[in-house]
Every structure is written in structure tokens, then in C-alpha cells.
């Protein structure tokens, strides 16, 4: 009688300890997904902040390139309207976010291409710096996205593995969405012959 009681208590204690540690593990993993998402949105925001400065410099030199400029500004204003929370967003929401940002990328690369027609613009130090900053931001975006995908994938694997999956469904941890396509894929249609 007493012995069985001790065994029951021990088993409960072991289960409680396991639940405690794996629940905390899940919380940590979810936090790191959110953290890497905030890095992604910071970098996208950084690019949005650069656009007005870039547009100002370009407008000073290339007055005839209204179309390319407007395309960038429009894409920017469209993208600022879409803000998503990765912890509860549908794949469609993420896809629309990605599409809006992709449109900025292609509009920007079209805008950057016009520098070939304006040697003065190309030689401008401010424009040159802006170009480097923009490239740096694109690089940061791709690093942050890869990082986000990695942490989201780790989290998804964690909540699907036995026996953590029982705990995950018990406490309502849900699968995270991640970026589908490579960063380069959305830039592909830039070349028109």
C-alpha cells in the first residue's frame, strides 16, 4: 500500500518534471521564432525608411523617370499597410506580405537600373552610399529571413515530435509559417528582352 503510493508519487513527479522542462523548452523556441521575426521586420522596415531618401536623390537628377520613381513609392505605401504577426497569421497573409515586399524589390531594381542613363547621378557620392546601404539591407533581409525560416523549422519539428507533440497540442502551440520562395526567385522577372 505504502510502496505503491510512493511509486505513484514518483511517476507523477517525473511526469511533472518532464512537462515542466519541455513546456519551457517550447516557450523558449517560440520566443526565438518571434525574435527572429522581429529581426526580419526590422530589416524590411529599414528598407522602407531608405526609400524616401533614395527617391529624393534620384528625383534631383532624373526628372524624366517619374514612372520608375512612382512605382517604388506606390509599392512602398502598399507594403506599409501590410503588417503581420507571425504567431497567428495564415500562410496567405504571409504570402501577401512577401508579395508586397517582393514588389518593392523589383521596383527598386528597376529604379537602380536607370542610373546608367544619368552619369551625374551615378557619380553622386550620396547616391553611391545609398546604393551600398540598399544592397546591405537586401543582404540583411536575406540573412534575417533564412534565420527566421531556420528557427521556425526547428520549432515545427519540436512540436511534431513525440512525446512533445502531446504537450504542444495540450497547450495550443501551433505550427509556424515560413517564407516559401528563395529571395532571388522574386527578382527573376526583372530581365525583359
Amino acid at each position: 500500500m505504502k510502496k505503491s503510493n510512493i511509486i505513484i508519487i514518483a511517476v507523477i513527479a517525473v511526469i511533472a518534471l518532464w512537462m515542466y522542462s519541455s513546456y519551457n523548452g517550447l516557450v523558449t523556441a517560440e520566443e526565438s521564432v518571434e525574435e527572429s521575426w522581429s529581426e526580419v521586420s526590422t530589416q524590411y522596415q529599414r528598407r522602407l525608411d531608405l526609400i524616401p531618401k533614395l527617391a529624393k536623390i534620384v528625383a534631383g537628377y532624373a526628372k524624366h523617370e517619374k514612372e520608375a520613381l512612382e512605382a517604388v513609392v506606390n509599392a512602398r505605401s502598399k507594403a506599409t499597410q501590410i503588417t503581420i504577426d507571425p504567431s497567428n497569421c495564415t500562410p496567405e497573409q504571409l504570402a501577401s506580405f512577401q508579395k508586397a515586399q517582393g514588389e518593392i524589390s523589383s521596383a527598386l531594381s528597376r529604379l537602380m537600373a536607370i542610373q546608367e542613363n544619368y552619369p551625374e547621378l551615378k557619380a553622386n557620392k550620396g547616391f553611391e552610399d545609398m546604393q551600398v546601404q540598399l544592397e546591405g539591407t537586401e543582404n540583411r533581409i536575406s540573412v534575417a529571413r533564412n534565420n527566421f525560416n531556420k528557427t521556425a523549422q526547428e520549432f515545427n519539428t519540436k512540436i511534431r515530435k513525440f512525446p512533445t507533440n502531446i504537450l504542444a497540442s495540450l497547450f495550443g502551440f501551433e505550427k509556424k509559417n515560413y517564407f516559401a520562395a528563395e529571395a532571388g526567385a522574386e527578382k527573376a522577372p526583372d530581365f525583359e528582352f
Binding site: V132, G136, A144
Partner: protein, 331 residues
């Protein structure tokens, strides 16, 4: 089917033709293998802790490597910046120089975990690309635009010397990075200690941490008595710590630590170099009173000094990571 036909064709040839075909196939293999992937580049620190330069394709000459290593050492001693320089012949068309560089940076962890002020310089000969990758902690001193200008100057050097002076270009870039990181304001930013991140969580960690801390304090107290060289007993006790030369931004300071054996009376004096940190830290470590701070102060001092003295010149790598900062240019 097609492969089968090739196979029969190969054996139908006469011997000399067969050898020629074999040679061609081997040659094609050799050419294909000349493309370097990030996995093929060894971390320079694993073979030689004093080396910060990865030069697997022997693009840089010995004297260029020497000058670059001096730059790396100076960067580490003046501002704690760990620099890594990589020269590759051909990275192929599958990857970009940026992806290549950032993979190396994060794989090797250029920089330390606390300050994260690593810098990686990559030059690729065939793709004619040069990249600077900066760690998260140095982005304020070396923003992208500044990196871009550094690369412009490096490219000018390369072009002014005939277009193939890769080493000279890297030296120009390295010297400019050195110039930016050794200004007073930059050093203040780079050397300021970051607060340690709090990733401990929960009671078990706290208990484990307390046990570890207890063991650590015990071990430190035990080790605070060094083994006497004369009587070989653990009786050497700390007597005094004197800073003979105060550390300045230009020169490391010198410190004499005196021990005396409680068993046989033998005294031992140790000279250590103290790297310049900032003023408060130097003040804390001075003097030979009996407060806790002054017992542990000197030992932290020895730790830092012996790390530099033992030859991890130019930093040890292993803790840094980059968020993609820096710049890249084609030349």
C-alpha cells in the same frame, strides 16, 4: 542505354586513345574541383592560433600575409576587433561572394560572443569580387556606406597596380578599417562591455548555477595558492600586486604580482601585460588591499594577460555572428 554505348565505345578504343580519354576526363575533374565551397576552406585558427588569414589557393604572397597578419593583430590589441582575411581563387557561379563570406563568418564565429565585433574580408579572384562582412557589434563604427568607401579605395589600389594586386588591395582595406576602429570614440564603443544576456531560466538552472558558482569559488580559492617551485607544495600565497606601467591606448601596461610560499618562504614574481580597457577597470584592479575585489581583481588580470601572452594573437574566433552588415563590390 546511352551510357552503355559509351562504355562499349571506351573499351573498343585502342590503348593510347583510352589513356588520352582518361587523361581528359581526369583533367575535367581537376578543373571542376578548382571551385571552392565554404566547406572546403579551413578555419585558419584551427591549424595555427596566431593566424587570421585563410589563403588556401596561395593568392597572397608570404610578405602580404605578414602585413595583413600585423593589421589583424593591431586591430585586436587596440580595439579588441577580431579580423579574418580570406582569399579564394574561384567560388563558382552557384553562390554569391556575399553568401560565401557570410557563411564563413558565421561558421567560424569571427569575433567574440560578448562584443561581437568581428570583421571578415573576402577577395575572390575569378569572380573579381571583394566583400566586407561586419559583426553585429561593429556595425556602428563600420556602417555599410563606410565599408563601401573602404572597398572603393581597395579597388583603386588593385587597379592602379595592374589589376591583379589582390594582396595590396586587402592591405589598403585593412589599414582603413584599422584607422576607423582606432579613433577614440570608436574604441570607446567597441571596448565597452556588453551586459551578458540572460538566458538562464527557471529554478533548476538557478540551483545548478548556485552549485557551479560554489564549486567555482572553491576552486578559485584553492587555486589561488600556487604550487611552489622550490618545495613543490601548494603554498604560494598572493602578497602584492603592483602596476609598474599603467596601460595606455597605445601600450599595454605592466603588472608585477608577488607570491610567497607559506611552507618554505620562497618568493616568486610574475610579470604580466595588462591590456588597456577603460579607466574604471584599471582603477579597480590596482592596489593590494584585502577586499574581495582586490583578491579576485589580479586573477582576472592574469587571465586576460595570459590569453594575450599565450599567443591567441588577433583573437580566438568562435562567438561572433553577423546579421549581414558590410558591403561588397565587383572590380
Amino acid at each position: 542505354m546511352k551510357q552503355n554505348k559509351l562504355y562499349i565505345f571506351f573499351f573498343a578504343m585502342n590503348t593510347s586513345l583510352r589513356y588520352i580519354t582518361l587523361t581528359i576526363v581526369i583533367c575535367i575533374f581537376c578543373i571542376a574541383r578548382a571551385v571552392t565551397t565554404p566547406d572546403m576552406v579551413n578555419n585558419p585558427k584551427t591549424s595555427n592560433r596566431e593566424c587570421n588569414i585563410a589563403n588556401p589557393d596561395l593568392i597572397l604572397s608570404l610578405s602580404e600575409c605578414d602585413s595583413l597578419q600585423t593589421i589583424c593583430n593591431t586591430a585586436y590589441s587596440t580595439a579588441g576587433v577580431e579580423m579574418c582575411i580570406v582569399a579564394i581563387d574561384d567560388i563558382g557561379d552557384e553562390t554569391t561572394a556575399f553568401d560565401f563570406a557570410i557563411e564563413l563568418f558565421n561558421k567560424w564565429g569571427v569575433g567574440s560572443k560578448e562584443s561581437n565585433t568581428g570583421v571578415l574580408l573576402l577577395i575572390v579572384k575569378k569572380q573579381r569580387d571583394i566583400q566586407i562582412i561586419t559583426g553585429g557589434g561593429i556595425e556602428g563604427v563600420l556602417p555599410d556606406a563606410r565599408c563601401g568607401r573602404i572597398l572603393d579605395d581597395a579597388i583603386n589600389t588593385i587597379k592602379s597596380k595592374g589589376g591583379n594586386a589582390y594582396g595590396a588591395g586587402l592591405i589598403t582595406a585593412g589599414n582603413e578599417i584599422l584607422r576607423y576602429i582606432s579613433t577614440d570614440s570608436a574604441r570607446k564603443e567597441l571596448l565597452s562591455e556588453k551586459e551578458p544576456t540572460d538566458d538562464m531560466q527557471g529554478l533548476p538552472w538557478l540551483l545548478g548555477g548556485l552549485c557551479l558558482a560554489g564549486a567555482g569559488i572553491g576552486a578559485t580559492l584553492y587555486n589561488s595558492k600556487r604550487i611552489c617551485k622550490k618545495c613543490h607544495k601548494r603554498g604560494m600565497k598572493l602578497i602584492s600586486v603592483n602596476d609598474t606601467i599603467k596601460a595606455t591606448p597605445e601600450h599595454p601596461g605592466e603588472r608585477i604580482i608577488t607570491f610567497q610560499c607559506t611552507k618554505c618562504g620562497e618568493t616568486e614574481r610574475i610579470f604580466v601585460q595588462v591590456p588597456y580597457k577603460n579607466d574604471e577597470h584599471n582603477d579597480n584592479n590596482r592596489g593590494g588591499g584585502s577586499s574581495i575585489g582586490n583578491i579576485f581583481g589580479p586573477f582576472i588580470g592574469i587571465n586576460i594577460a595570459s590569453r594575450v601572452g599565450r599567443g591567441i594573437i588577433g583573437g580566438a574566433f568562435g562567438g561572433g555572428n553577423s546579421f549581414g552588415g558590410g558591403a561588397g563590390k565587383k572590380f
